[in-house]
């Protein structure tokens, strides 16, 4: 009996142990243990980091490379400021008050006791700008062997910027992003585009965000005792008062690529639980009433991703809504932590709170879990995220009113992407495939966010919703907790499309990606005219000079006149896509024509007793990428009801404008 009991006890203990210790989600390459003290007087972070880094390759790695992001704000010649220029708002603070910020590693040793600080030096892999100190190379006296682990410890100080882009302090609000020396991503041969193993550790540029390695984080923040901390991860214990007017907060999170936190004495905390996930909202008192909006939209986004991909895999999600004086830190995504923006100046119908919440949440999947390289292929996180932001917002609020619905002005989310892309001065200025810092003329944002969302939308409609959903889910499950490249994305889409539609798309969609992702082609198809002419017999003099044949109307056996009808379609852009054309006759009969879309002009001709009433290219509205949707259809008779309505309104506003100006008399 006893033995049996002991056996059962052991069995259950083992099972219990098994179930509580899940397999790691990621390879856990870069693991951090950080103790940091926030000095609110000096605006400094005083910290100690222990980094455990695992060599993921079969190479012997002889150096480590770190991002020192705060050094982007160290001098006016950094690559960040060279590309952006000193922001006007900060000029006095930087140039006169010398409020530059920086991060300095004071010492560094490895687990063999080697001093690593002696030979560390800045490098500039992107532009050779010697004034840029955002990448630090640390040569290792004892290299890291294949699959071996190294432990590195160092003390460091960070001078916090006054809310610069995404991070910093203003008054007593602190938001710490890119705040710690962060190791780059070592890409083994075969990963993404790497032919041989090496560090992928870009300088900090004006455009483009991050690329991080997966790992576990344990962070202890010591802050003034009246401060509340919001952070990535969860708290293993309650904050501990140190008795010196400071409190230490502990946070932990596994399998993430980055870690961010914020602190302020004014944060008001609200919590909710969604299927076991703790959602923590930190706002300023004047924004507490936004709580309902966050707690209503976020579960809907979580639900969407659970339905279309997989359940959100972390135990917590924190939202920090910065105050007005902290707005430069808002609207960003970090693992299990997002920052949004809200303003009492904006009416509810302007849905920026919801949009930012959804957008930054989608990044948890595309950027954090599918951890793409934002410096090299930003469309893979911003474009895909913007696309799903549109899908979710349009689904909830309607596709014509999901961004703004205020005083009769309505705009949709996905349509706004299309409008901003085509309203660019030159929508063909750059392909999506450039490095973030290479985009000319400030085109980074619109091309990477809006254009990508527009072509993803088009792709969805071309291959069909079901296939697209399957392809995206496959992409997600194959590449979650890894680092895919654009090529990996294209491969998955091609694989699923070729499987589901072998006849229609053959090998897949390379022809499409070549134009939209790697190319700058513009799509514009148009129905340019319709003609309906009576068929007449031939006329003139043929064999006999004395016999002149006169033309006559040709009629069918029912005595109806016969028409020769033509529809002329044109390709006005340089993008070529297969097209469908719907031709409707006056008796309601419809014909769908298929066209490969290659020629610059094509005519479809018909002969019969019915005239063509109208023709429409892309009748199912699949080609969201079409630059001018107004020329996609043509009616043989003018269709003026809409015109009348607008003329009426125009006239009314003119009359009011004239009377309004008359008030000055």
């Amino acid at each position: 009996m006893k033995y049996k009991l002991i056996f059962l006890f052991l069995l259950f203990t083992c099972l219990g142990f098994q179930s509580s210790k899940k397999a790691p989600l990621s390879a856990r390459i870069a693991n951090y243990d950080i103790q940091v003290k926030l000095d609110v007087e000096q605006k400094k972070l005083i910290a100690h980091t222990k980094l455990i880094w695992k060599n993921p390759s079969a190479d012997t790695v002889s150096d480590l490379q770190f991002h020192l992001y705060y050094n982007a704000f160290k001098n006016s010649e950094s690559t960040f400021f060279n590309e952006r220029g000193l922001p006007a708002l900060f000029k006095t603070s930087l140039q006169e008050d010398c409020n530059w910020s920086w991060v300095e590693i004071q010492n560094m040793t490895d687990n063999y006791g080697n001093d690593l600080a002696a030979n560390m030096h800045y490098i500039q892999p992107d532009d050779d700008n010697k004034s840029d100190q955002t990448v630090l190379r640390v040569p290792l006296p004892r290299p890291v062997l294949p699959n071996e682990t190294i432990e590195v410890e160092f003390d460091w100080i960070g001078k916090i910027p006054k809310t610069m882009i995404r991070t910093g302090y203003n008054k007593d609000f602190y938001f710490m992003a890119q705040w710690y020396p962060k190791v780059g991503v070592y890409e083994p041969a075969g990963m993404r585009y790497a032919e041989k193993g090496g560090w992928n550790c870009h300088q900090y540029h004006s455009s483009g965000e991050y690329y991080g390695e997966f790992g576990n984080y344990k962070v202890a923040m010591t802050v003034p005792e009246n401060y509340v901390v919001g952070s990535s991860g969860t708290q293993p214990n309650t904050p501990k008062n140190n008795g010196d007017q400071t409190t230490t907060w502990n946070f932990e999170v596994d399998d993430v690529i980055d870690f961010a936190w914020g602190a302020s004495p004014h944060f008001v905390e609200n919590k909710m639980n969604w299927k076991g996930i703790e959602i923590r909202l930190l706002t300023y008192p004047e924004h507490v009433h936004f709580k309902e909006r966050y707690f209503s939209i976020l579960p809907q986004a979580l639900e969407f991703f659970e339905e279309n991909f997989e359940k959100y895999p972390y135990p917590s999600l924190t939202i920090i809504a910065p105050p007005f004086h902290g707005i430069y830190t808002g609207g960003m995504e970090y693992p299990t932590l997002i920052t949004t923006l809200n303003s009492c100046l904006l009416p509810t119908g302007v849905r920026s709170t919801e949009i930012l919440t959804v957008h930054e949440f989608v990044h948890q999947y595309f950027q954090q879990i599918v951890a793409t390289n934002e410096m090299e292929e930003a469309w893979m996180d911003e474009g895909i995220t913007n696309f799903y932001e549109g899908v979710i917002m349009d689904k909830i609020y309607g596709e014509k009113s999901s961004t703004i619905d205020f005083m009769g002005i309505k705009t949709g989310n996905a349509e706004s992407d299309r409008v901003s892309y085509f309203n660019m001065e030159n929508p063909a200025i750059a392909p999506n495939s450039l490095n973030s810092w290479e985009f000319p003329g400030g085109s980074y944002h619109t091309i990477q966010y809006s254009k990508s969302a527009v072509w993803l939308n088009t792709l969805k409609r071309i291959v069909g919703e079901k296939t697209f959903k399957e392809a995206m889910k496959t992409y997600y499950s194959r590449w979650k907790f890894k680092h895919p490249s654009a090529k990996d994305f294209v491969d998955v889409i091609n694989e699923v499309v070729a499987k589901n539609h072998p006849e229609e798309f053959g090998e897949g969609m390379d022809w499409f990606f070549q134009q939209v992702l790697y190319g700058t082609e513009i799509c514009d198809y148009a129905v340019s005219s319709i003609s309906n002419n009576n068929k007449i017999t031939s006329s003139g003099i043929f064999d006999n000079l004395d016999e002149c044949e006169k033309s006559e109307l040709v009629k069918n056996e029912k005595g109806e006149e016969i028409f020769i009808s033509n529809v002329v379609v044109q390709r006005l852009g340089n993008m070529t896509l297969p097209m469908e054309i719907l031709v409707r006759f006056e008796d309601g009969k419809e014909i769908i024509e298929k066209w490969d879309g290659m020629a610059t002009m094509t005519t479809f001709s018909y002969e019969g007793s019915q005239k063509i009433e109208c023709a429409e290219i892309d009748p199912q509205h699949k080609i969201f990428l079409d630059k001018n949707l107004l020329n996609n259809s043509f009616t043989s008779k003018p269709n003026l009801s809409g015109v009348r309505k607008y003329v009426n309104e125009f006239m009314f506003w003119m009359q009011n404008a004239m009377e309004g100006l008359g008030m000055l008399i």
């Binding site: 008054k171 085509f422 949707l629 809409g642 015109v643 309505k645 607008y646 125009f650 004239m658 000055l664």
Partner: protein
């Protein structure tokens, strides 16, 4: 006179509506997208229209701006006529009197318009300066609440001052047709004096007229939003409702001037 003013307004607006209609028919008259316009504001439609046919549209818009300016100058012109008729000393309501008044007072009223526009710009600039002094950037203010607060405090005060000046301008116009002085400074001075002497009456009357205007606008707003103008009959109905509003707007303008004239004549006796 009321009908005449309405007709003038209508004809001028029509002058720009015709090219606008031509622009729309030419750009999208054959497009099925045309019907998108029937459902009201459509962002995609409007953006595509302005982007793809914008150069033609800007010609129409420039023309319309020109027409508005031209109408403005004409409005100054026939303001003299309106005031002559309203003055109504000889019970002469003829066109001759109207045009004569228009011609006689045109130059004086132009100068008056210029001066009072200048006053309005100064008042607006002053309040904008006060508003910006409170700070609007995230580095200047604690939260947007302080921006909202300064709007709540400054806006009514600004509106009050702007209203006072609009009101004084009305009485200055009346003084111009009554005083018949060579310079307009005298009528302006007299108008200030008159308004401050009879401040409560003047303001009460002005506010009453403003309220009448607000009531007409309210009626228009309710009526125009009570149906969806997506078919030819409903578009025609919306047109009629709109024109009724313009008609009432002109009526309020005349009512305002007429009642001010009346008040002036009573108080001046």
């Amino acid at each position: 006179m009321w009908v005449l003013l309405y007709l003038l307004n209508f004809v001028f607006a029509l002058l720009s509506a015709v090219p606008f209609s031509g622009f729309l028919s030419k750009s999208i008259g054959h497009s099925l997208a045309n019907t998108n316009m029937l459902d009201g504001f459509d962002y995609t439609f409007i953006s595509d229209l302005l982007r793809e046919y914008g150069s033609r549209f800007s010609v129409v818009m420039n023309l319309s701006m020109g027409i508005i300016l031209l109408f403005f100058i004409f409005s100054i012109f026939w303001m003299g006529g309106i005031l002559s008729i309203l003055k109504n000393e000889e019970n002469d309501y003829s066109f001759r009197k109207f045009w004569q008044g228009s011609a006689v007072f045109f130059w004086k009223l132009t100068r008056l318009t210029f001066y009072f526009t200048f006053f309005q710009v100064v008042i607006l600039g002053f309040f904008a300066f006060l508003f910006l002094q409170q700070g609007v950037s995230p580095f200047e203010v604690e939260s947007e609440i302080s921006i909202i607060k300064s709007i709540i405090i400054l806006l009514p005060i600004y509106l009050f001052f702007a209203t006072i000046f609009f009101m004084i301008q009305d009485y200055a116009k009346i003084h111009i047709v009554h005083d018949d002085s060579k310079f307009i400074f005298q009528p302006i001075k007299n108008a200030f004096r008159f308004v401050f002497r009879n401040f409560r009456k003047c303001l009460g009357l002005y506010l009453l007229n403003l309220l009448t205007f607000a009531a007409f606008f309210g009626i228009y707003w309710i009526l125009s939003n009570s149906f969806n103008s997506n078919s030819t009959p409903t578009i025609a109905l919306l047109f009629l409702v709109g024109q009724a509003f313009i008609f009432s707007r002109i009526a309020v303008k005349l009512l305002n001037l007429g009642s001010a004239m009346e008040l002036f004549q009573i108080e001046a006796k």
